[in-house]
């Protein structure tokens, strides 16, 4: 009797109410989970309905124009592809290098290495527009680079670096120590261990994480607005020439009051989402195909 009462006291209520509450709570959880997906689903349907009519060859080749029927996103799509390549070349090596330093070389006991880790965690959460300010102050105005493709690529590199580092560290950490010990026992130096054993084993994880990070960066708009991607560009972008990118072009169209440009923006979004989805799918395929469980 007293045990039963203590049990009720501790846990609140009797079995009948409990069952109803349990079911209601479960329904609440399911509703919460579905909210995000309902929005995602509605968003995709809405964008496709609005934009699919503008997806013609003109859209992929021509520059934007004041006439929505002649406007395209050619330079913007090429700009985004160029940015992607530049990011791959700049962000991935620096990110992997940092991850290798932190995981394989750094002494955790040292204060500067701990500071480095906190610094990277913080950078990951700095608002992207602050990176834009950095670009505006140092690259565009400071060293007088101007509003060029390289400035945009450099800023996006700094922006994705923390994400690439975190993903690479996880992949490197997943390589079991026994492999390192084995290589050392055979007389390998530290760099030989890292280069011949750790890196090859970690590459699938690093590649997956890096592709996902690049996909995030490709969709970034705010920092590019500040380093000046919002210009009319009709020619192929060059490293030190003015440029535009797909998300910026989309914003530019949204900002116009005419409905036709909103539809063009929707078409741009379809292309952007298609690029991102392809990158995501490729990353997942890579993970499933090559990742080893130790």
């Amino acid at each position: 009797m007293s045990v039963a009462r203590a049990h009720e006291g501790a846990l609140g209520h009797g079995p009948r109410g409990a069952k109803v509450r349990g079911t209601l709570f479960y329904i609440l959880l399911l509703v919460s989970v579905s909210v995000g997906f309902i929005l995602l689903f509605t968003l995709v349907i809405d964008v496709v309905q609005k934009g699919v009519g503008y997806l013609d060859p003109i859209f992929f080749t021509e520059p934007t124009s004041t006439d929505p029927d002649k406007a395209g996103a050619g330079p913007a799509i090429r700009g985004t592809i160029y940015l992607m390549v530049l990011l791959l070349v700049m962000a991935v090596p620096i990110g992997v290098g940092t991850a290798l330093y932190l995981e394989e070389y750094a002494n955790r006991g040292r204060w500067y290495n701990r500071l480095l880790e906190v610094n990277i965690q913080n950078l990951a959460a700095v608002p992207s527009i602050v990176y834009g300010i950095l670009g505006l102050a140092f690259l565009v105005r400071g060293i007088g680079l101007g509003r060029v493709l390289l400035a945009g690529a450099l800023i996006l590199t700094l922006l994705v670096l923390p994400t690439v580092i975190v993903a690479s560290r996880e992949a490197i950490r997943a390589v079991p120590d026994s492999i390192r010990q084995g290589a050392y026992a055979l007389g390998a130096t530290q760099w030989q261990v890292v280069r011949r054993q750790v890196l090859p084993a970690a590459i699938p994880g690093i590649a997956t994480g890096s592709i996902l990070a690049l996909a995030r960066a490709i969709g970034e708009t705010a920092p590019l607005l500040l380093v000046g991607a919002l210009t009319y560009v009709a020619v192929n972008p060059t490293l030190l020439g003015s440029f535009t990118a797909l998300p910026v072009q989309i914003y530019q169209w949204i900002a116009r009051p005419q409905d036709e440009f909103r539809l063009l923006a929707a078409a741009g979004i379809i292309v952007l989402l298609a690029i991102l989805l392809t990158m995501n799918a490729f990353a997942i395929w890579l993970r499933n195909r090559y990742q080893r469980r130790w």
């Binding site: 992997v96 300010i133 995501n280």
Partner: protein, 312 residues
């Protein structure tokens, strides 16, 4: 060399395990990798320098008291007025609506993933949530402006074309994965024995979730909340597209507002002359934004470290 000494036995020296010659290439590699790591330090230093220097110049022209206590923001008008309060209130109002959606729903998603979902469901749901988190913010802004706001108007909410409600709610859904993934990490770190103990006493799954797991994971949950708040404060594109208007102090979610990020974005994309007061204003507002988000990120990082220390 060392072995010879020992075999002679005159002076037994400890065997040296270090390589005889220093391998310079090893040192070079370590230096190069450390330089890579320095890039992120340089980024932080660069951000602080970029923000502080023009801000100091700004505060020489505008008193810091006027900046924080003024309630009129009109830097581009004559006479100019630099009271930042409308921007702060605007930012907080949008953030409030975003958090109203993201915090409870994110927690529920985390509880579902950690306590209810079967492994197979979890394996599908988690990457799917990542997809939601990977949608560019400019796309969410488009959705808020061209779909959600008209939807609100259709169901009888009297909102303007640019309004806080639509931007805030859509941003809230965008932030669900942020809250869910960090909270779920914390809940997964709660030892199974705590759950088993409660089930042994006859607790239901609801009771285990809400009275055992959530309290035990509370530092991680708060960390996710703080991070989501910080993200909402720093979010630019959704606000710029769906609720940017004149800077005004209003709590009415049907109005448009200006946030710190909107001001920076809208001013920075024009060709503001370097060294002008408008140009410096970007940095003063940017510094305010950076200090707020930096403080919150630090709190969040601390809290995450706390739950890691307790359970891992």
């Amino acid at each position: 060399m060392a072995t010879q000494d020992i075999s002679v036995g005159a002076q037994p020296e400890p065997i040296r395990l270090r390589a005889e010659g220093r391998r310079w290439s090893e040192a070079v590699v370590k230096t190069v990798l450390a330089l890579c790591a320095l890039v992120s330090v340089a980024t932080t230093v660069g951000i602080i320098l970029a923000l502080v220097e023009p801000s100091i110049e700004f505060f020489q022209e505008v008193s810091i008291v006027d900046f924080f206590s003024g309630d009129r923001w009109a830097p581009l008008f004559e006479p100019a007025s630099f009271g930042v309060q409308p921007l702060l209130v605007g930012t907080l109002v949008v953030t409030f609506w975003a958090c109203l959606v993201a915090l409870p729903l994110g927690l529920c998603v985390a509880i579902y993933l950690s306590e209810y979902a079967r492994p197979r469901v979890r394996r599908i749901l988690k990457p799917a949530l990542e997809v939601l988190a990977g949608i560019p913010t400019v796309v969410f802004g488009f959705f808020a402006l061209t779909f959600f706001t008209p939807l609100l108007q259709d169901i009888g909410v009297d909102v303007g074309t640019f309004n806080v409600l639509s931007a805030g709610l859509v941003m809230g859904v965008m932030l669900i994965p942020t809250v869910a993934s960090i909270s779920e990490d914390a809940m997964s770190a709660v030892p199974q024995e705590l759950r088993d103990g409660a089930y042994g006493l006859g607790a239901s799954r609801l009771q285990v979730s809400t009275r055992i797991v959530v309290p035990a994971a509370v530092s991680g949950i708060i960390a996710s909340y703080v991070l989501a708040f910080s993200r909402a404060v720093g979010e630019t594109m959704i606000v710029l597209i769906a609720c940017a208007g004149i800077a005004q102090i209003t709590l009415d979610p049907r109005d448009s507002v200006q946030t710190m990020t909107v001001f920076i974005g809208a001013t920075g994309l024009g060709d503001v002359p370097t060294g002008s007061i408008e140009y410096k204003t970007i940095f003063a507002v940017g510094l305010t934004l950076f200090v707020i988000t930096f403080a919150m990120n630090m709190v969040s990082i601390r809290l995450v470290r706390k739950f890691r220390e307790i359970y891992e």
